[in-house]
C-alpha cells in the first residue's frame, strides 16, 4: 500500500541543513498495524505527516496505492488521499467554532453522504466513544483527553482505509487508552491499515510491527 524510498527532510536553520528525516525506506502492506516509536524530536510526527500528504519531503519518492504521489498534480494528489486517510493529530486540532457533533460530521459533508446517513454515522461514533452527552459542547468545553477522543472519532467517521494516528492516547487515562487500542485492533482486523506513533511499549504491542526512529533514521530491530 505504502512505499517510501530515500525520503529526506531537512530544515535550513542558520544556514546549515538540519536533517529531520534521513534516507527513510519503508514498505507498509495493506492490513498492517504499525507502531512508530522513538525519542522526542526524532521525526515521528514529520514522517506521519508525509505519509498523510500533509507535508512533503525534500527528497525521495512515495508510492501510495501503486501511484507515484509526487508525480501527481496537487489536485489529483489531494483526491487520492482525501477519502482514504483518517488523521489523528498529536494536538487534536478540532475546529473551535463547531460542536463535538459537527466536528465529527465535517469529513462526511465533503463526501456526498446524505444527511440521514451522516446522522447515523456520527451517532454511532458518539456511542462507540461514550461521548453522546458531550455532543453539543464546543472543544474549549472539553478536557484534553475528551478532545483527543473527538479527534479520533472524527478520523474514523469517514471510514478511511488508512488511519494515521499521532500519539492518539497521549492524553488518555490507561482505561481509555486501552479502549482506543482495542478499537484500533478491531478495525485492523476488519481490514483497515493503521500507523500509530506512540511512546508506550504496551500500546505499541497492539501493532504487528514496530518501527524505531532515531535522529531521523530507521533503526531495524
Amino acid at each position: 500500500m505504502i512505499e517510501l524510498q530515500h525520503i529526506f527532510k531537512w530544515y535550513n536553520v542558520g544556514g546549515t541543513k538540519t536533517f529531520v528525516l534521513k534516507d527513510i525506506n519503508l514498505r507498509i502492506e495493506q492490513g498492517e498495524f504499525i507502531s512508530i516509536m522513538g525519542p522526542s524530536g526524532s521525526g515521528k510526527s514529520t514522517l506521519l505527516h508525509i505519509l498523510g500528504n500533509l507535508d512533503t519531503p525534500d527528497e525521495g519518492s512515495y508510492l501510495f496505492l501503486e501511484e507515484d504521489v509526487y508525480a501527481l498534480k496537487s489536485r489529483k494528489r489531494a483526491e487520492l488521499f482525501q477519502s482514504r486517510v483518517g488523521f489523528v493529530f498529536q494536538s487534536y486540532h478540532l475546529i473551535d467554532e463547531l460542536t463535538v457533533y459537527e466536528n465529527i460530521e465535517t469529513p462526511l459533508i465533503y463526501k456526498n453522504i446524505s444527511s440521514s446517513e451522516r446522522r447515523a454515522i456520527v451517532g454511532d461514533m458518539l456511542d462507540r466513544f461514550g461521548i453522546v452527552g458531550k455532543k453539543d459542547l464546543f472543544p474549549n468545553q472539553l478536557s484534553g483527553g475528551q478532545q483527543q477522543i473527538v479527534g479520533i472519532a472524527r478520523a474514523l467517521a469517514g471510514s478511511p482505509n488508512l488511519i494515521l494516528a499521532d500519539e492518539p492516547t497521549g492524553n488518555l487515562n490507561s482505561q481509555q487508552g486501552e479502549d482506543v487500542m482495542k478499537l484500533f485492533k478491531q478495525l485492523n482486523e476488519e481490514g483497515v491499515t493503521i500507523v500509530q506513533v506512540t511512546h508506550s511499549e504496551k500500546n505499541a504491542e497492539y501493532g504487528n510491527r514496530i518501527i524505531n526512529l532515531l535522529d531521523g533514521q530507521l533503526k531495524k530491530d
Binding site: G52, A78, S83, H93, L98, T106, Y110
Partner: protein
Amino acid sequence: MLENYLKIMYRNLWRYKAYSLLNILGLSIGLASTFLIFLWVQHERSYDQFHDKAAQTYRLTSGISKDFVAATTPPPIGQEMASKIPAIKDHLRLTHRVDHLFEHDGKKFEEKEGFYADSNFLSFFSFTVLKGDPSTALQNPDVILLTEKMANKYFGSTDVVGKTLIRDNKNPVTVSAVLANIPSNSHLQFDYILPISAIKDNDWKYPSQDWGNFIYYTYFQLDEQLTPTADALSKVTEEIMREYKTHTDGVIAKTQFKLQPLSDIHLHSQNFQVDVAVHGHYLYVNTLSLVGLFILIVACINFMNLSTARSARRAREVGLRKVVGADRKQLITQFLGESLLITSLSVIIALAIAILALPAFGGLIGKSISISLFSPEMAGYLVTIVIFTSLFSGSYPAIYLSSFKPLLVLKGILTSQRSGHRVFRNGLVVVQFVVSIFLLVGTIVIYKQLEFIKNRDNGFDRSNLLYVHMTGDIWGKQQTWKNALAENQLTSNFTITDALPSNLGSGTIDYWYEGKDPSSELVVPMMDVDADFISVFGMELLAGRTFSKLFTDSTSYMINESMAAVMGLSPEEAVGKPFAVWSKKGTIVGVVKDFNFKPVSQSVGPLMLQYNEWGGMAVIRTQPGKLEATLAAVEAVNTKLNPNYPFNYGFFDEELTRLYESEQRLSKLFALFAGLGIFISCLGLYGLSAFMAEQRFKEIGIRKVLGSSTIGIVTLLTKSFIGLLIVAIIVAIPISWYGAVQWLNGFAYRIEMGIWIATLASAIALIIALLTVGYESLKAALMNPTRSLRDD
C-alpha cells in the same frame, strides 16, 4: 453542508460580536452615505432630461465680452432666427420671473413664481398637463396656466379649467390648463404661466422690436437630423450672429451668441447675468461624487481589512477542512458565499439607514428626493457593490488561505510569518487615511472660505437692513409713502433704490465719458438710488457729494472708485467731469468707495449710480433691537396706503446669505461625510488594532511576566500604526493641497491655502487614530498576563 457553513459563519460572527458589528456597521454606514450622495448626484445630473425633446433643445445665451455673458436675449431674435435658419425648428420665449397678485373668493396672495411665455410653451416643453387642452391653452391673452399646487391653493381642487382669478386687483384671467407640480429637477420652477400676448405695450417686458434690449430667455429646438457636434452648433450660432448684425450696429452688433444645451443649464450656468434661477454647480456635484466614491472606498477597505483579519483567525479551520477532505472548490464556495451573505446583509442595513435618513438628508440639500429601489441604476449599483466587496473580502480566505499546505496553517506559520497580506492590509490602512485627511482638509478649507465670505468687508454695513418693494397703489402714492416712512423715527432712516447690491446682473455699454475708446466692450452695471443711499448703507464717499434733494440731480451721476480707474482718473479728478448714459448728458458729482454688488465668485468692477426719481424699493436701516416695532410701523403704513396688497418684506442680510446657499450646503455635506469617513476609518483601525493585540496576546503576556512596562507594551503595539499614518500624511498633503487650491480658484476673493490647514487636518487624523489604537493597546497592556498564558 450549507447548514454547516451557515452555522460556523453565524458562530464566528457571534463569537467576535463587537468585531462583526464594527465590520457590518462600518460597511452599512459607508454604503448608506454613498447611496445618499449618489441619489443627490443623480438628481442633479437629471435636470431637464424629462422633456421629450431635451436632446434637441438649447437656450440662446449672449455675451458682450468674456466677462459679461447673459442668459437673456432680445425679444425679436427667436422668431427671426427660427424663420431664417433652417436648422432651427422651433423657438420659445420666456420673460423674467414676474410677480403678480391673484385673488379668488377672498383668497389673495402675491405670487412670485411666474413667467410669461409664448403660446407653444406646452408643446415645446413636456410638463405634464392634468386638465385642459395643451394645444390651445395659451392661445388667448386672458388665460393662465396653473400648477397643481397653485390650483389647490386657490380653489382646493385641480378641476378648475374655465374658472377665473383676479390678477392685480383688476384683470380677470381664466384658468386654461392645470399642470402637474413641476419636477424638482427642472431648471424652470414656476407656479403659473401667463401668455406673452397679455403684456401691454407700455410694460418694459413688452416684446418690442428692440434688438438691443436683452430681456427675454430664448429657447430653440434644432433639427433632429442635426448631429450636435461642436462644429455643427457653432455653424448655427454663426448664422445667428450674421443675421443679428443686420439688425444692429455699434458694439452691440458684436454680441456673441451661444447655444447652451438644455441639460447643461442646471450645472453649467456659472457666470450668466440675469439667469432664471439659482443653479447647481458641476464642480460641487463632481466634488461630492468624489467624496461619495471616497467613502465607498473607505468603507469597502474597512470591511475587507476587518474580514481578512478575521479570516486569518480561521486559517486553522481552512487547514483542518482540507485535512478531513475538503477540496479547494468547496472552501472557495464556503468563504465567498459567507462574504457574499455578510455583504448583502450590510447592503440591506445600508438601504434601511438610507431610507430613514432621507428626510434629514433632504433638509440638508434643500430638496426632497426619493429612493427608487427598483430602478435599474440602483439595482446595478447595489449588485456591483455586493459583488466587488464580497469578492474582495472573501477571496483572501477563499483563495489565498486554501492554497496553503494544511500543515503550515495548522502550525500557525502562515499567520505569524507570511507578511504578504500584512503589507496589503497596511496599504489599505494608508489609503483609508489618505482619503480621511483629504476630506478633513476639504472641510476646513470650505469652512474657512465661508467664514471669509461672511466676514468680508462689503464696503457697507449689511446688518439690520430691511427692504420693502413698492407694490400696487404705492406706485401712485410714492411721495405720501415716503413721507409716512420719514415721519416715524423707527423707519425714517431709509433710502429708495431700484435694486439691492447683492447680485447686480445686467448693465450697459451705452455710457460715455471724455476719451472713452469707442470699441470698448466693458459692460457697466447701473443702480438708481436716491440721496440717502450712501448714508443708509454706510458706504464711504471718496470725493464730491452724494445725490441731494437740494440739487436738481436728474442729470447727475455718481461712480465708484473702479469706474474712475477705468476712466484713468483719481476720485477727486473724476468729480465734475461730463458723463452720459443712454445719451442722457450730465456730470459726475461724487465718487463712492468700491462696495460689493456681486457674489464673491466675481470681482467687483466699475459701477454707475444715477438719481432715482421713479421708485423701486425702500431699504430701511432698523435700530438695533427694534426690528419688531419697525416692521409693524412699515406694515401699518403699507396697509393704509395699499390695502389691496399683502405686505411683503425681506432682510438684506438673508438675501446675501442666500447667494452662498450652495456653498453652505457643500460645507455641511462635506463636514458630514468627512466625519463619517473618519469614523469608518477609525472603526477599521480599532478592529485592526484589536486584532493585532489579540494575535500578540501571548507575546504581550510573556513580556509582562518578564517585566516589561505598560508604556513599553503600548509603544510596541502602536509603533507600526504611527508609521502607517505618517506615510498617509505624506501622501495626503499634496493631493488635498491641490484639490483645495483648485476649489478656491473658483472664487475671485478667497483665503490663502496655508500649511496650517494641512497640518491641522493631519494632526486631527493622527490624534483620533492614536486614541483609537492606543485604547486597544492599553487594554492589552493592562491585562492580567496569566490569562494569556493559561492554556496553549
